[in-house]
Symmetry: none
Subunit: 222 residues, 2 copies
DNA sequence: GTCCGCTCTGAGGTTCCTCTGAGATTCGCG
DNA sequence: CGCGAATCTCAGAGGAACCTCAGAGCGGAC
């Protein structure tokens, strides 16, 4: 276990009074709090920094909270997220969760409940870790990089997706067709699979992915 | 036989009491149980870990059970899956199975029946796996390699086909003519059979295939 | 707009697989 | 034992599959 990591929290909240309140609240719980006042800066911060958890208000200027989550998920950011909302209908809840949020708190909320849900979120997320075993090293899916060697190795979105698939099914052989369907949405990208296998090998060593001649590829660590 | 492998089971169940009950039940049967309490964490765990089998409740928060299975199948996860449901109409059953679940148990269920179905599921799935016995080791036909020794041994396409034929009929003697017809499509490849027998022996040991002088070859472990 | 990184294409070079053929070795039989 | 036949061993040719990489296209950041 890595144990006592920095627990940095991103709060995206436009209401100044509520933002200040929550900031104090979360800080008091031991989080390092980063506040963004609208969807755009929230998006930017979330894309350029690493957070343990995000708390996002649904009613935001510029980009709506649910939309923000959706965009982040589309970008491969899987940081656990809690949405604050004034509305509490079933459709709202479904929409938020479908967008990729992990939890949903309706305003006005009990402070204790909010904190409890946040703890649960964090616990659940670190329990079901975003790490995939790669033998000596491991892939941090969320951060999109491979750590465990001398120096962490950053991956692009595609590289990350591809390696994630292999690492999740270490003994399975994937044909190029399967990989194209599962990783490259576009059915017409014949050489892309080979190229990305090449990229991963260049970054991580020739043995990360093995060729099964005439069939496809599979993970290196059997 | 490979025998006592790790049989890890993923249970996705939101009801705490039922989850605890099933956890104990499955653990008692020798499974290593992993519990997810909602669809999202279930999805995440299933994508980042490997399970022998999954048991998923149909009525889940966040992502419904059937939907969860559908998403997993779309992602290329083929782990055999059993769905628990309160409803038992024909449409429900069809929907669940269409989504890619292998079996369907209606609550309230008999514990013994559930366990029996689970065993059947596991057995069916491993049976249909493409493994052929080779005595100490076994041939994984789909992965095209022999495992069970210190190090897995990769086979080429032809080597794989040839060994597959022998392993599927351990006591039968094959003439060179038969082998040529069955494994080598080109009828005019007189020496190829001998060469590939030689390749297999070089990779797997002299005894994998025995020569029957004047007749042909047969499997080593008669 | 300009820059930069990501994605994918396509062409050339390389590796791997398949099968051939020839010499060395073993087998069976007198 | 001695001989012919069957089998084993292995280097290498030909071709398919694969690897490598420069660069075009595109979209987002500033």
């Amino acid at each position: 276990m890595t144990g006592a990591e920095h627990r940095t929290l991103l709060l995206v909240e436009d209401d100044a009074k509520l933002a200040a309140l929550l900031d104090r609240l979360f800080s008091g719980e031991g989080y390092t709090v980063d506040v963004a006042r609208d969807g755009h800066s929230g998006l930017h911060r979330a894309l350029t920094h690493q957070y343990a958890v995000m708390v996002i208000d649904r009613g935001l200027p510029a980009i709506e909270g649910v939309d923000l989550v959706r965009r982040l998920r589309a970008k491969g950011v899987t940081t656990p997220t809690l949405i604050l909302t004034a509305r509490g209908t079933t459709e709202d809840r479904v929409e938020g969760l479908d967008a990729g949020a992990e939890d949903y708190v309706v305003k006005p909320f009990e402070i204790d409940e909010l904190l409890a849900r946040l703890r649960a979120l964090l616990r659940r997320h670190t329990d079901s870790s975003t790490r995939l075993d790669l033998g000596e090293r491991h892939l941090d899916v969320t951060a999109r990089r491979v750590v465990g060697g001398d120096v962490p190795i950053e991956l692009s979105g595609r590289e990350n997706e591809l390696l994630q698939l292999f690492a999740a099914h270490p003994s399975q052989v994937f044909t190029r067709d399967e990989l194209r369907r599962l990783v490259f949405q576009d059915a017409d990208s014949p050489g892309a699979v080979d190229t990305y296998v090449y990229y991963l090998r260049r970054k991580l060593g020739r043995d990360v992915i093995r060729t099964v001649h005439g069939l496809g590829y599979r993970m290196g660590s059997a």
